[in-house]
C-alpha cells in the first residue's frame, strides 16, 4: 500500500507540473466563471427558472471539468504512459496492476474535485452563488458522473492505437460535447433542435443531473440520467477490461 500512496502523491505533483492539464481542469473553468459572471452577473431571472447565470453555470462547468478529466486527462495520460512504456516499467515492480491504474484514477478524480471546489468558492465569494440541493446528493452524482466519464476515457485509451490518435479523437469528442450539452454555455441559449440532438451526448445527462440536484430536485426526477450514466460506467468497465493494453 505504501507504494500505491507514494505513486498517487507523485502523480499529483506531476499533474500540477503539467501546464495544459492543470490549466483546463483548474484555471479555465474559473476564467469562464469570471468572464460570463462579469457580463451577466448573477441576478435571478425567469430565463433560468428564477436562478442567476452563475447559479446554473457552476454545476454546468462542473460537468465540463468532468468531461475534461474523463475524455482528455484519462485518455491522454493512459495512452501516452502506455506508448512511452511507463506502464510497463511500473508493472515490472511488485506493484499490483490495480494499484498502478487506481493511483491514476484517484489523482484525476482529486483534481476534478479540486476544480469544482474552486468554482464553488469563487462563485460563492464573488457572485453569492445559490445552492438549494443536498450536498451529499450532489457529491454522489458528481462521483457517478466522474467514474462514468473516466471509464469512457479508459475505453478510448484502450481502443486507439497511439497517444497521438487518442489525443485527437479525445479533442474531437470533447469540444462539440461541451458546447452542445450545455456544459460550457447554458442550454437555454441553444435552439430546441440542437437541445434534442444533444440528448444523445452522455455529457448532457451529467449537466441535467448536476443542475437538477443542485437546485434541490429529488433523485426520482433523475432516474433516467442516473440509469444512463450507470450503464455507461458498467459498459465502459467491461469494454476497457477487454481492450486495455499495458504496452
Amino acid at each position: 500500500m505504501r507504494g500505491f500512496w507514494k505513486l498517487t502523491l507523485i502523480e499529483i505533483k506531476l499533474f500540477l507540473r503539467e501546464p495544459m492539464a492543470a490549466f483546463f481542469t483548474l484555471a479555465f473553468p474559473l476564467m469562464m466563471l469570471f468572464l460570463f459572471g462579469s457580463i451577466y452577473g448573477n441576478k435571478p431571472t425567469p430565463f433560468f427558472g428564477g436562478y442567476g447565470s452563475v447559479d446554473v453555470s457552476v454545476p454546468a462547468y462542473t460537468a465540463m471539468i468532468i468531461a475534461t478529466s474523463g475524455l482528455l486527462s484519462v485518455t491522454i495520460t493512459m495512452a501516452s504512459y502506455r506508448e512511452q512504456g511507463i506502464l510497463r516499467r511500473l508493472k515490472a515492480t511488485p506493484l499490483r496492476p490495480q494499484s498502478i491504474l487506481g493511483a491514476q484514477v484517484i489523482v484525476i478524480f482529486l483534481m476534478t474535485t479540486l476544480g469544482m471546489v474552486l468554482l464553488v468558492i469563487a462563485g460563492k465569494l464573488v457572485y453569492g452563488l445559490r445552492f438549494n440541493g443536498s450536498p451529499l446528493n450532489v457529491a454522489v452524482a458528481f462521483l457517478l458522473s466522474s467514474m462514468s466519464f473516466f471509464a469512457l476515457g479508459f475505453v478510448l485509451a484502450g481502443l486507439l492505437p497511439t497517444a497521438r490518435t487518442a489525443q485527437i479523437v479525445a479533442m474531437v469528442l470533447f469540444y462539440p460535447m461541451i458546447f452542445l450539452s450545455g456544459a460550457a454555455i447554458p442550454r437555454e441559449v441553444l435552439p430546441e433542435s440542437i437541445r434534442e440532438v444533444a440528448q444523445a451526448l452522455p455529457l448532457s445527462h451529467v449537466v441535467t443531473l448536476l443542475r437538477g440536484l443542485w437546485m434541490g430536485d429529488p433523485w426520482e426526477k433523475h432516474l433516467w440520467e442516473v440509469g444512463i450514466l450507470a450503464i455507461l460506467l458498467i459498459a465502459g468497465l467491461l469494454v476497457s477490461s477487454k481492450t486495455f493494453r499495458w504496452e
Binding site: 507504494g3 507514494k6 506531476l14 503539467e18 504512459y81 510497463r88 516499467r89 515492480t93
Partner: protein
C-alpha cells in the same frame, strides 16, 4: 567447483504469431557471475530476458529464478530481482530523487538511495526532471532504480545502446561494481565487444537459438582462429621469407598492406625480427586477435551487424 544456479532455463520457447522468437533455449546462470546474452537485434534476447523476469509468458519450457517460477510467483520474485528494461522511460517531469523515493516505496526493504546516487554520478542531478537527463544519465538512473531494493539478481537489457563509447565504458565499470557487491548480473547486448570485455560467460544467440555458450576466452580459443600481424610495407618485399617463418600459415598483400596469418604467441616477434634482419622497411604494424565477432561469423556464417 560447485556453483549455485540462480537462473535455470530449460527448453524455453516463445512464438509471436508465425514468428518463433525463442526456439528451445536452455542455460543456467550461476551466483555471482556476469552472464551475457549476445546476438543481433531480433535474435530473441529481449524475449528471453523478459520471460525470465516474468513480464512475458513463455509458450513452452521451464524457468526458475531463485527457485521461483517467474510467471506464477511474479510478485514474490520481483521483490528479489532488479530490472532495467530496454528503451525504458519515466514520466517526463519526475525528478531523479522522486523517482528513487517512488521505486524504493514499492519494496518492503530498500537501501538508502543517496549513496547510490553518488556512486552512479547523479548526485548533482537529483532535482533534474527525467526528460532533461542525457541518455547516459537516464541509463544510470535506471540502474539505480534496479538496485534500490538491494536485489539478488540484476537484469540489464541493452544497457549501453544509444550511448557514446565513453559513457559505455563508464557503464561497464558500474556493472562490474554491481557484481563486486555480490550480485548476479544477467545482461543482453548486441555489442560483441561489450560481451567480451564484461561477461564471465556468454551465450551467443542467433534466430532464437543459443549457438554457443562459454567464457569469451574459451569461445575464441575453440574457434582456433589465426592471429594476424598487419603492417604497411615501404619498398620491395620478400614475401617468401615471411611465409617460411615458424607459425606463419599464409601471407596476403592488399596494395601496400601486408597481412601475416599465423598461430602462437611468438608470431609478432618472429615477423618483426624477420623484417628488421632482412632490412625490409615497414610502418603501422599492429596485431589483430580473433574476437567474439569472428566467433559469431564462424558460427552463423554472417556478419554481426545491427
Amino acid at each position: 567447483m560447485q556453483q549455485k544456479p540462480i537462473v535455470q532455463v530449460e527448453h524455453l520457447r516463445k512464438v509471436y504469431g508465425s514468428t518463433v522468437a525463442v526456439d528451445d533455449i536452455s542455460f543456467e546462470v550461476y551466483q555471482g557471475e556476469i552472464f551475457g546474452m549476445v546476438g543481433p537485434n531480433g535474435a530473441g534476447k529481449t524475449t528471453t530476458i523478459e520471460c525470465i523476469e516474468g513480464l512475458r509468458r513463455p509458450d513452452g519450457g521451464h524457468i526458475r529464478v531463485l527457485g521461483l517460477d517467474p510467471h506464477y510467483d511474479g510478485y514474490a520474485l520481483r521483490l528479489r530481482i532488479g530490472i532495467q528494461l530496454q528503451e525504458s522511460v519515466l514520466q517526463d517531469r519526475i525528478k531523479v530523487w522522486e523517482a528513487l523515493g517512488l521505486f524504493a516505496s514499492f519494496y518492503p526493504h530498500s537501501v538508502d538511495w543517496k549513496p547510490l546516487l553518488e556512486q552512479l554520478g547523479l548526485a548533482d542531478k537529483r532535482n533534474t526532471p527525467f526528460a532533461k537527463l542525457s541518455g547516459g544519465q537516464k541509463q544510470r538512473l535506471f540502474i539505480a532504480l534496479a538496485l534500490v531494493h538491494d536485489p539478488e539478481v540484476v537484469f540489464l537489457d541493452e544497457l549501453t545502446t544509444g550511448l557514446d563509447p565513453q559513457a559505455r565504458r563508464a557503464m561497464w565499470d558500474l556493472v562490474r561494481q554491481i557484481r563486486e557487491r555480490g550480485k548476479t548480473v544477467f545482461l543482453t547486448t548486441h555489442f560483441m565487444e561489450e560481451a567480451e570485455r564484461l561477461c564471465d560467460r556468454v551465450a551467443i544467440v542467433d534466430r532464437g537459438r543459443i549457438v554457443a555458450l562459454d567464457t569469451p576466452e574459451n569461445l575464441i580459443r575453440m574457434l582456433g582462429a589465426e592471429n594476424r600481424v598487419v603492417f604497411t610495407g615501404d619498398g620491395p618485399f620478400e614475401l617468401q621469407r615471411l611465409s617460411k617463418l615458424a607459425g606463419v600459415t599464409r601471407v596476403e598483400t592488399i596494395g601496400e598492406r601486408v597481412i601475416v596469418y599465423g598461430r602462437g604467441d611468438g608470431l609478432v616477434g618472429e615477423v618483426v625480427n624477420a623484417l628488421t634482419t632482412s632490412g625490409m622497411r615497414f610502418r603501422d604494424l599492429r596485431t589483430e586477435q580473433p574476437n567474439l565477432e569472428d566467433v559469431f561469423l564462424a558460427l552463423t556464417g554472417r556478419e554481426m551487424r545491427d
